[in-house]
Symmetry: C2
Subunit: 432 residues, 2 copies
């Protein structure tokens, strides 16, 4: 029986595994985490809207229902393309067919200081640390008598005007405006500030002009300061440095200004495209290796003159294509080249506020776009139970503004990100 190995349990890897299920192939899915993470909702974990466990689904629970698919928790250190072996930190796994769906990591463009001092929305544990960091900054601000220091603690800088950055900024603003101000009567809402920095001339570039303007207006109305054509050059403790020489006093940077191929790509001596992505043939295979597929963020393929974007849609379609194609190859059936079908784009800014651009001709904003966004994300979430739980959370948040996950649950993990508490303090009894 043919053996397949799938590297990565993200959107691409999961779809590849499903396509291979019951097709007479013995497949092993390898991931360094034991769960499938629904990354698009990570920002809501960071802002206390969702429990971390509700967007993470155990990989074994997803795969055990698939015929012939096994799971292995492990870190892939490299791939021997000639001997068809995947190397892990603790062993090897041989294959007849390989699907590389390792995804992407944050791109810091060589800025070490940013890499060390910023947060991103790529992993669950780091996101929970961001939530902890935000809440701890409010606690520290509550006992900080120096207005300037307090202001810096309550200034949150978001770098990158893509969906992640915009959604996080809007969501954080709602957390602060509707929950945290009530939690900290001693703090003035005017002390808090969310600054969204975008290097280019507009946010959400993939949306039509009209919707970009809408998003920009809504963010401003919500109180988020958006600064376009503004580049970040680095960070110091309590400072975000800008390319124009000025700086912003802040202890929190969310970096969502770029992604690049996962480190696995760099370990392979094959041609790369932009962002270190592996150049693939029209059938998503590596040149000279028709048995090795690369899908999702890890793959670089141009379609109609433009590279496929690094988004979930591309990974899902690519993963499904790879799985089906492996089956066809084994059966000796003809294989058509991969063709990405763009269903459109959407972004949520706040309650009743979103922009949808579906199939290039359904363009709408406001409540219906917002409802469509929620519905679609619930649909793509894995597992009925998680859908129910997330649905209840959204319902409670919408009608009762009940964001009750403001829990500093990982004080140990977060230590590294937090400065020692200030020496001088004001008792909240006086200031409360």
């Amino acid at each position: 029986m043919k053996k397949a190995v799938i590297i990565g349990m993200g959107f691409g890897g999961l779809r590849a595994a499903r396509a291979l299920s019951g097709k007479g192939v013995e497949a092993l899915v390898i991931d360094r985490r034991n769960f499938h993470l629904f990354q698009p909702l990570l920002y809501q974990v960071a802002t206390s809207f969702l429990e971390q466990e509700h967007i993470a689904y155990p990989s074994r629970a997803l795969l055990r229902t698939l015929k012939g698919i096994n799971f292995r928790l492990g870190e892939v250190t490299g791939v021997d393309l000639n001997n068809k072996v995947v190397h892990l930190a603790d062993g090897d796994a041989s294959y007849d067919y390989l699907v590389m769906a390792a995804g992407s990591v944050t791109h810091y463009f060589g800025m070490k200081s940013i890499e060390e001092q910023s947060f991103d929305l790529k992993s669950l544990d780091k996101t929970v640390r961001l939530r902890t960091h935000i809440l701890e900054n409010f606690e520290r601000a509550a006992r900080e008598p120096d207005p300037a220091k307090r202001h810096a603690l309550l200034t949150f800088v978001v770098v990158g005007g893509g969906p992640a950055g915009v959604e996080f900024a809007g969501s954080l603003q709602e957390l602060i405006r509707f929950e945290l101000v009530k939690d900290y009567p001693c703090l003035d809402i005017a002390d808090t500030k969310i600054i969204l920095l975008e290097a280019r001339g507009s946010i959400l570039p993939f949306l039509p002009e009209k919707q970009r303007t809408y998003a920009l207006r809504k963010l401003s109305e919500m109180g988020v300061t958006v600064s376009l054509n503004t580049q970040v050059s680095g960070a110091e403790t309590g400072k975000v440095l800008l390319a124009n020489g000025s700086h912003i006093p802040s202890h929190t940077i969310l970096w969502s200004a770029g992604v690049q191929a996962a480190p696995l790509a760099a370990t392979l001596t094959i041609e790369k495209g932009a962002a270190g992505r592996i150049r693939v043939e029209p059938d998503l295979t590596i040149p000279g290796h028709p048995e090795v597929f690369v899908v999702g963020d890890l793959a670089f393929l141009e379609q109609d003159g433009t590279p496929l974007p690094m988004v979930a849609q591309v990974a899902m379609q690519g993963g499904a294509y790879a799985g089906t194609t492996i089956h066809k190859r084994i059966k000796g059936l003809p294989v058509a080249p991969f063709r990405y079908f763009d269903k459109g784009n959407m972004a949520i800014i706040g309650r009743n506020t979103a922009a949808v651009n579906a199939f290039g001709f359904f363009k709408f904003t406001g409540f219906f776009a917002w409802a469509a966004w929620l519905a679609l994300h619930l649909y793509y979430l894995e597992g009925l139970r998680n859908r129910v739980m997330v649905g209840i959370n959204w319902f409670c948040n919408y009608f009762f503004r009940a964001q009750q996950i403001r829990v500093i649950s990982t004080p140990i993990a977060v230590k590294e990100d937090v400065e020692p508490p200030k020496a001088e303090i004001v008792s909240t009894v006086q200031s409360g």
Copy 2:
């Protein structure tokens, strides 16, 4: 206006704060965590039954609705009884009245090796690490070819036959029997073992003889090995050492064999009772300090010849009493001594299996006891949303056996507990 300080946001501290709300007292609640933790359900977080955030409720959210009550996140380092000042790691807080409700910590009876290598069910982050540890042991067992080593990885030792130990053992057995065996087709259920060690001659000593026998029988029927009159003397990596000279090969120890007063008690040079608890007057105050109340696990008081037990009930009643008494003292009203009313005891063993002993005359077991246990715990859980969420979880677990929180969410925090993965492995493709 009189100032009160409440140390601890557990069952006692919260009840004291509520009793003082709107009574013309300015109270400051201090806790090192920013949430009120519902400890009785921690074991269900450890066994993937409940999300960690569902039994933790933000302290500020609970207190902001109370008039005159403020919160401060901070570590209490000591109390100056003569100058009426509470010392924190980062400042001081003065008081006219003080309520010490710092609770208890695990008692290792001087066994350093146990303290270093065991888990307990006292804090949220450590409990999540226990969940991670259990799941990682299964992952390691899945790629462990040596039967003896595999067996040790899948042997879980629970020390202490109190409610926490019994409930954890039963719950873990359900997780393994109904979920993990499906997750790991390559593992044999016969490889897994849960051993409950109790130093005394019986488990759940606070229950009547008949119910103790019932619990013991049910645990055995579920496949939990209960070993009475068995004392633990220490631990080595992969080994639990017994006083009789033998040992049990295991990588997991849950220590629930004893608790003692929180370290705060030791910082005070006043008379202590058993387990380092502070001896208090019949009105729960420290001798010579009618303005200082000690409640819950921290306080030692004999009633009808026996010391009050270290349970939530005592803390709740003591906290409420302290709050009301402070108000009465200020108003110059007469104060009756504290009188603990024991509503009874209960313990859950597994689905449809529990024992209830209410008010000393309602004694029943089985389904109705189980239902009563769930209902009572839902009732005492803080917040409607948490009740709904926990209710849904229990519903799903009961009818669909959906324990989907098998997420290794804190690989960083857990590193310390986990040995480096084995070098030799078996691919789950072969064994799966």
